[in-house]
Symmetry: C2
Subunit: 462 residues, 2 copies
Amino acid sequence: MRPIRDILEAQSVVVIGASRDQEKPGAQLLKVLKDVGFAGRVAGVNPQGGNVFGVPLYPCVRDVPFEIDLAVLLIPPRFVPDALRDCAVKGVKGAVISAEGFAETGTQGATYQEDVRAILKSSGMRGFGPNTLGLVNTQTKLTTSYFANSQMLASGHIGFAAQSGIFVGALLRYLSSLTGLHLSKGIGLGNKVDVNESDALSFLADDEQTKIIGLYLEDVKDGGRFVKNLKKATARKPVLIIKSGRTQAGAKASATHTASMAVEDSVFDGIVRQAGAIRLHAIDEFVRTLKGFLNMPLPAGDRLAFVSYSGAQAIMSIDTTIEQGLQAARLADATQARIGRVIATSSKTKNPIDIFPDWLTHGYEKTITEVVKALLDDRGVDGIVFISFAEANPEVYQSLVNVVQADRRKPVFVSLLGDSLDKAACERLLDAGGLPCFDFPEQAVRVFARMRQYAKRIKGTE
Amino acid sequence: MRPIRDILEAQSVVVIGASRDQEKPGAQLLKVLKDVGFAGRVAGVNPQGGNVFGVPLYPCVRDVPFEIDLAVLLIPPRFVPDALRDCAVKGVKGAVISAEGFAETGTQGATYQEDVRAILKSSGMRGFGPNTLGLVNTQTKLTTSYFANSQMLASGHIGFAAQSGIFVGALLRYLSSLTGLHLSKGIGLGNKVDVNESDALSFLADDEQTKIIGLYLEDVKDGGRFVKNLKKATARKPVLIIKSGRTQAGAKASATHTASMAVEDSVFDGIVRQAGAIRLHAIDEFVRTLKGFLNMPLPAGDRLAFVSYSGAQAIMSIDTTIEQGLQAARLADATQARIGRVIATSSKTKNPIDIFPDWLTHGYEKTITEVVKALLDDRGVDGIVFISFAEANPEVYQSLVNVVQADRRKPVFVSLLGDSLDKAACERLLDAGGLPCFDFPEQAVRVFARMRQYAKRIKGTE
């Protein structure tokens, strides 16, 4: 079978169902490809011919005067099989089938889907979907979604594959509006008539632009191949997986959504654990975990140190540390002595370190710099969670960014409490400096735990 | 013993340790009381006399020419016992002792704390702290914190008591920067030399301004009294509790923070459950749960309906629904028929209801209005989670706000995914309309579960 790399790195795209009405999706996609700067050849297919946004439209895909790597089908299900047959004749390498209305809606749709499968199989063409927004390649600025924009096409390191349609687009829009969370490649799997999670994993594992892989799944098509590809992928880069349909009711809803078949959840859990991948249950945790992996080195051990402004949040964090199977670091005497130079109250130089009110003596920036430096040098500390408050002037955190950027030996996380607007400003500064900032320190502890889990896996496979 | 109501409703406040230096906390607090509009009498105590910000300073509290309901002690631990003796002679009703450096720091501090305890006991004066920012009463605009502001003193319905110092201030600043989350009363307990969680509970249970009670605890002083007061409080209003020091390591850190003694966590858990209170493990969950209780009616049953724009998030939510011991609602035929008038695809009129792409036919506002109205009328539905996307124009959600404001029979929650700035704008509109908006639908499901838990408790005590 042709590797999906040929399609994800497409040098030419044809939109089948390219309307001459500029408002329609098929026209909009052509405009988007121009706007985001896709450099390959582009054409449209429309029975009436003509052109839209300056792009020529041909009556049939066979009439397109160049070789086609990727055809995007923005047409209703009943027209899809014939269009795909034309694609096969033309020698198109791969197709994205966007429309809903296939196996997920009943017998008529299932018939269309079987036709699609047969055409793909006999022609060797690869097919994404149906029921998907398709592909994104931020390296070449390829997208098959008509509501993409330049921000969403900014180049990053997250390779994401998902078995859902619109959700991927919304998630991508969310991620790309946050600092530093951009995709390398995005792969919409939809109903997975051909390309499935195992193909996506294999591609993303090899892809150099991709440093971390995210998957959203509702089922798994070929368990054996999935396990093999997952193991191979985790040996190279972290793989974060959200799998829904954990419960019977969820699986039932999933079946009417993308025609998936349930996998026994405990079996799936076991596969993920055994392969060294990381399973997360919700998107917020997925996003936070990405922030940790993308910005910070992997932890060498289980021991966390906390620097706080108030004991309460540090105590809540230590509870979470223990519950996650980690430890609160015991600081070396030398470390406590160094910290003692800026914090006079000796009980506050132990872990959790409390900088209030002692920082008033030496100033906030000097105090936090000295404390964090001492912790970075302590061999008994594997990670640092800095718990503080949102400041009206975010610049007070620049010194912390500088320290962490200059010393990448251990993961350092920040959480800030306070006025929500102040917090947003501080978070922008910290995120831009590559210092992962969270709303609450317990979230940082959980991210550290996932990173530690992966670090152990990598060590085990070395 | 004098009820703490006398102090929380103080008509006169004296700040002991009122500096003539305008930058110092003791001067700042006098300025804050003016700025936020505290209407009672105010004076300061300073050995040199004089005045600051136009407020007269007296050499000793005994020299103050009016009766004192509340004295705020912003002086170091070693001066506290003598100042308190003067307060006792003067007949002060209650004192807030702000300073750190008591039992939490060692034997010298413990001695001061015992002196304080003895003076309070023999005089009948009530004492808050030490190691606390003290009190807030948004009805009278009373505060004992020198970094309060008018926004933080806006009147609301959350009565909050916490065993921690600065944390309360930061949390309050955070809450008050969000729409609709304002305090009625705030009580800082600190080391709890006198006033403890049971006093606070009893007061907040009786307080008419308070509709919901929040507690942050590290330990419990008198288990028997706590259980009794907690039961009494939950019979009247929801009580949300965060208790840290759940683990040994957490409890140990807690001991050096507010000199608390650990309570066996499973015992505490049992007490909370038996009393019908709600235990939460983190501040973010606390804040979300507040949003639900403050804005929505209690659910009459366990059955949730989901309206979504994409199946993936609905499926994740149904998983959480089942895991929380709730059910996905089965819609009545009549409901499906009504929904069918705006959603033609019949598989999409079942729970979870999928409005995409059918809304394109009737418009977004009409579609969501009709669907939500049908669900509000369905007796098999006890709550609704509306899962959608952040829109550049938040006004599209006004019609949803209108429907929900006109029909308060069932709790309705919203979650939005998309560009973070768009999301913030939509969330502001929804929050202002009293429609709780969350980042992810699973969060809404968990809030519904806590509200249902409380609804059952109330039914059991009727």
